[in-house]
Symmetry: D2
Subunit: 138 residues, 4 copies
Amino acid sequence: MSDLARIGVAIDSALLARFDELIEQRGYANRSEAFRDLIRDELVQKSWESPDADVVGTVTLVYNHHVRMLNEKLTDMQHDHHQNILSTMHVHLDHDNCLEVVVVKGKAGAVKKIADALISAKGVKHGRLTITSTGAEL
Amino acid sequence: MSDLARIGVAIDSALLARFDELIEQRGYANRSEAFRDLIRDELVQKSWESPDADVVGTVTLVYNHHVRMLNEKLTDMQHDHHQNILSTMHVHLDHDNCLEVVVVKGKAGAVKKIADALISAKGVKHGRLTITSTGAEL
Amino acid sequence: MSDLARIGVAIDSALLARFDELIEQRGYANRSEAFRDLIRDELVQKSWESPDADVVGTVTLVYNHHVRMLNEKLTDMQHDHHQNILSTMHVHLDHDNCLEVVVVKGKAGAVKKIADALISAKGVKHGRLTITSTGAEL
Amino acid sequence: MSDLARIGVAIDSALLARFDELIEQRGYANRSEAFRDLIRDELVQKSWESPDADVVGTVTLVYNHHVRMLNEKLTDMQHDHHQNILSTMHVHLDHDNCLEVVVVKGKAGAVKKIADALISAKGVKHGRLTITSTGAEL
């Protein structure tokens, strides 16, 4: 991305030791990478507070594909919002259950509305909207 | 799924009116569907508290594919855990940025560890683990 | 409160059994009480989405009271917003550390701003805004 | 607390600019304080994952004090767990509604159990457990 700045951070030694332990457990190569992740996560959360912000999200759905017409309904809904829906992945979890992940892009308000509609569809057992970003500003 | 029970729920009229308004906004066909979703979400959250529980999750990653070797690294990591990784979807967000969704299945403890490793990889701008379930028990 | 309605909810027997188990663990006297709690929690979360909504919250702060002037600063900040601050409780956790809980009432936007200011004060080790409601509409 | 370390963090200039804007909005005096808060929040969340960890939490309850025997019941429950309950604050929100904040200390598992019991009590309209720490290790 852009050029790199190098800043100094003052931090209690004991706190730093505990942070180093945590980021090692999580697999970070170095502290700077971990700090950047903390920052970016704050910015992503903040960005979703405004309904007009440009965001990217994933909608995770678990459903029984034997429920009559559910598959068709979910597909129809996605086509109705094709400007906002980038891609969909379908995974067969077992004989009955499917997991579908829908990648959604657009204004935060519109993306939430699409997610609500998919998650509330009759027959969807569990649904979650996960918020992220286009990456362009991170 | 299993056979259907019909239970009675006592609820203040004013509270019920506000709930009806909320679920209409979200697009629920009826109250029973909304109640079942609330229940299932509680059960999913609860199930993830035990590291030995069988769970399904999605890991959402946003990264710049120009970062040297990142793509290879993420692919290698996924192959190292191929027993736990069901499927991956890749979306091109813009010239630089990709979104990848990885569907992970297994013990909650193992799934969290894989998610940590993917999210902490150098060059990944934003990552999130979303928890859901196999659907079999919902 | 208002008069009581009695509604019927259709739910798969297996799902109901798991729900009954969960609410027994949590100590609910009956299902209706558990359902009402699920509903009210959704409504509280929804209410905080609008910055103009009337809300109540608690700000939990942990800090070392030996940090110079921190106590005075936190008190001053609370007095500056006395119209929004209902009450404060102070607990001595150990020789150094205090926990303070500040009950805040007002528009969601204003309450968030006060919470941000208290949590970001130099010397505050950990802070959290917890959202709830005046109870009047629940 | 302990002696202070000074570490260098490499960060993209554009990302740093957005972070600086965010922490100014939140009222942070400087970047180091904001970084330390991000770290401590991660550590607090991590600490609660283990049921045996020593934690501090606050339970926020909103209830109608006209509900028969509710006040007595909540007081009794708190006395039953007096080793874990440090302090309680009671606020009169309006003619009917009270807010009570209970500060709880102990093993994470025990603290969650007490919170569940208080929140599930019949007549409690809304309840939330907020997790924090004794501050001793932060």
